[in-house]
């Protein structure tokens, strides 16, 4: 089963470890700042630990530390196996790994120091942006060269979704980060006001699309059929939903700016395309679910399958909630509230997190040629994570809708019922407390993964044995 001579697995192992480290860091900071919104003294009166500086650290470590590490790990793993050749350059892969982790480490230092561009998910200052462009170019050259020299002529669906991500992200990143430097740690966006807002949310929304969605659909298309040893349910569906998804997604950004001063036609365009996006998104979800029917008996016992099932379910849930929140009337209630925070986390903890954990549990035993230390512990992780996500989104639904309703509540004469802001904040405290508890549950799940992975790696080389998850002939339906 050892393939280490044919493929470069070191790079995959490296990115799995960096995903685990940045995952721990981002989720720990997430839990910490969640409790800061209930107990403000948790910043310990230090500038570096105040919410405004740690929140960008949390989002950057989660998206660009954890999720991107998973994307690179799975991309290197999948592309070598689907093209049937070794990655084009081991050297470039190594440079990519070092520069990437250097960038994230520098981000973890500069953000608490208050060096940021104040653009959501694009907070890092210009020297780090340049570093990012360098390693991203190194990576894409390596990735596309591998595709160019491939031995397998057909490009399987998983590759499409990664390609979509790797051609789109550089464009989004460069256009939105254009800034005039006024010092090593400070710059101003070249765009102002309305134009800056429009470009920022074209970027921001499509960071969700092309960092947190398409690569993870690619992950699903590769690891899911491999794990259950069955083909994907519908090739036609994957073609239709791929092209419609990438075409429609890019238009949806202005739904972040409904009722703002950006032009009305732009808001309406964003809203209409967001609603249209529901169908291509559910195309991916359906293909996942229908593939799962080929191994449905194993769902009771297999942790990886459970994680994928819940991950795809949350993908379906949040891609329904997203179009819903993009409708003007619903946006008027939900915008700026905790509901949006809950929505984002149902996508990130539910979809991105669960699919990532499933991929880690799939790859680690194969890469280290051994078997998973404890399937039972992986099941515990599944339940901790699932309960954590559920508690998280329910508490944020309640908090967000309460908040939005209190903002707009008026008495019979038309006067505001809750003119005192702090009074509203006090009502939300219990829900925000339970959100923190939810974060602790999810984080505890990740800790079990770390322990499980360490114990697994300790038995490296003992021989991996695949479990056949196919539905047996004549088995009860």
């Amino acid at each position: 089963m050892s393939t280490s001579t044919k493929y470069n697995d070191w790079i995959v192992k490296g990115f799995i470890i960096s995903a685990i480290i940045w995952g721990l860091a981002s989720m720990l900071v997430g839990v910490w700042i969640a409790f800061q919104l209930v107990y403000p003294e948790l910043n310990f009166n230090l500038p570096y630990f105040s919410f405004g500086r740690l929140r960008p650290l949390h989002t950057n470590a989660a998206i660009f530390g954890f999720a991107l590490s998973i994307i690179f790990a799975t991309a290197y793993y999948m592309i070598q196996r689907l093209t049937k050749i070794r990655i084009w350059s081991d050297k470039l892969a190594g440079i990519h790994f070092v520069l990437y982790n250097l960038t994230i480490a520098l981000a973890a230092i500069t953000l608490p120091l208050g060096m940021n561009q104040s653009k959501e998910y694009a907070e890092l200052e210009w020297p780090l942006d340049i570093l990012i462009v360098i390693w991203f170019v190194i990576f894409i050259v390596n990735f596309f060269a591998t595709i160019a020299f491939r031995e397998e002529k057909q490009m399987y669906a998983a590759i499409w979704f990664y390609i979509a991500s790797f051609v789109t992200v550089p464009l989004l990143f460069v256009v939105n980060n254009l800034a005039i430097p006024v010092g090593l740690t400070k710059s101003y966006s070249i765009y102002a006001g309305v134009y800056d807002a429009n470009i920022q949310w074209w970027y921001g929304h499509n960071a969700v699309a092309f960092v947190l969605t398409t690569p993870f659909l690619g992950l699903m298309y590769y690891f899911f059929p491999k794990h259950i040893n069955q083909p994907i349910y519908s090739h036609r569906l994957s073609i239709i939903h791929f092209w419609s998804l990438i075409f429609v997604y890019i238009w949806a950004g202005p739904h972040h700016l409904l009722y703002s001063p950006i032009p009305d036609w732009l808001q309406t365009t964003g809203m209409v395309f967001s609603i249209m996006l529901w169908m291509p998104s559910w195309g991916g979800m359906l293909n996942g679910f229908l593939t799962l029917t080929q191994a449905k008996e194993k769902i009771k016992t297999d942790a990886i399958l459970k994680m994928m099932l819940v991950g795809i379910t949350f993908y379906g849930m949040s891609t329904f909630e997203g179009p819903l929140l993009s409708i003007r009337t619903i946006s008027s209630l939900g915008h700026n509230t905790d509901w949006i925070v809950g929505h984002v986390h149902s996508g990130t903890l539910g979809w991105v997190g669960m699919m990532s954990f499933a991929a880690i549990y799939y790859m680690v035993p194969r890469l280290w040629n051994t078997n998973l230390y404890s399937e039972k512990l992986a099941n515990t992780h599944f339940w901790l994570a699932t309960l954590g996500i559920l508690l998280y989104i329910v508490s944020m639904w309640v908090s967000g809708i309460t908040e939005g309703s209190m903002w707009r509540a008026v008495d019979e004469k038309g006067f505001l019922l809750y003119p005192n802001w702090v009074a509203i904040t006090e009502v939300l405290k219990p829900f925000r407390f339970f959100r923190g508890v939810a974060g602790v549950l999810y984080f505890a799940g990740l800790v079990t993964l770390v322990y499980n992975v360490i114990k697994t790696i300790q038995t490296a080389g003992s021989g991996f044995q695949a479990v056949d998850l196919r539905v047996k002939e004549g088995a009860s339906k």
Binding site: W160, A192, V194, Y195, N198, V422, T425
Partner: protein
Amino acid sequence: MKIFDVPLTWFEKFASKWESDGVKFSVYTFIAILIGGLFELIPPFFLSQTVVPITTVQPFTPLELAGRDIYQKEGCNNCHTQMIRPFKWEVDRFDPQKAYGTDGYSKAGESQYEHPFLWGSKRTGPDLAHESQIQPSAQWHKDHLIDPRKISGPGSIMPAYPWLFEKDATLDAASIQNHMEGLMVVGVPYTKSDLDSVPTSIQGKTEGDALVAYLLRLGKDSAELSKSIK
């Protein structure tokens, strides 16, 4: 479902040709993602109605700009929006004095010189777009930044920022001039005399004073327009 079957089969056949051609596939993917972006990002720059200028809106003074830098550094925009939506309940809350007449919501012209925009996306604390008309007292803002729970009540969850007002939290004239020169490159109409005025305008001020000056500028210019119409 024959009606769907025909176009879907056609598209499947059409698209499947690219699946074995990496270059074609990547180029078509790039075109697919480019169309929406071009449609939404380019026209606003050329449509005269995108930003209707408000004549009274002027660039920030050096002290206010320094305050805005602090606002960005501390990440205030992670919890405070600066974008008031056109709803009665929202205008009533964030324009209690009716300083903007009947339309106390945010307008494009107000953020004409805002590099970057700071509208935010999360309103954990109240909106600040028109803060100058809601709480015009500099002393209140200073006290509140030093100890929010003493001023707004024990239920406030805002972090305290006492260090901004400490004696060593001074401002650096050269760096503010540098920042203004950078903003001039991207189109903010600062003049030579604005640059020369930096040392005197920040004389003896702390970072906290600058932040308060910035907060007291928010919404001031557009309120002046409303007053002049009356």
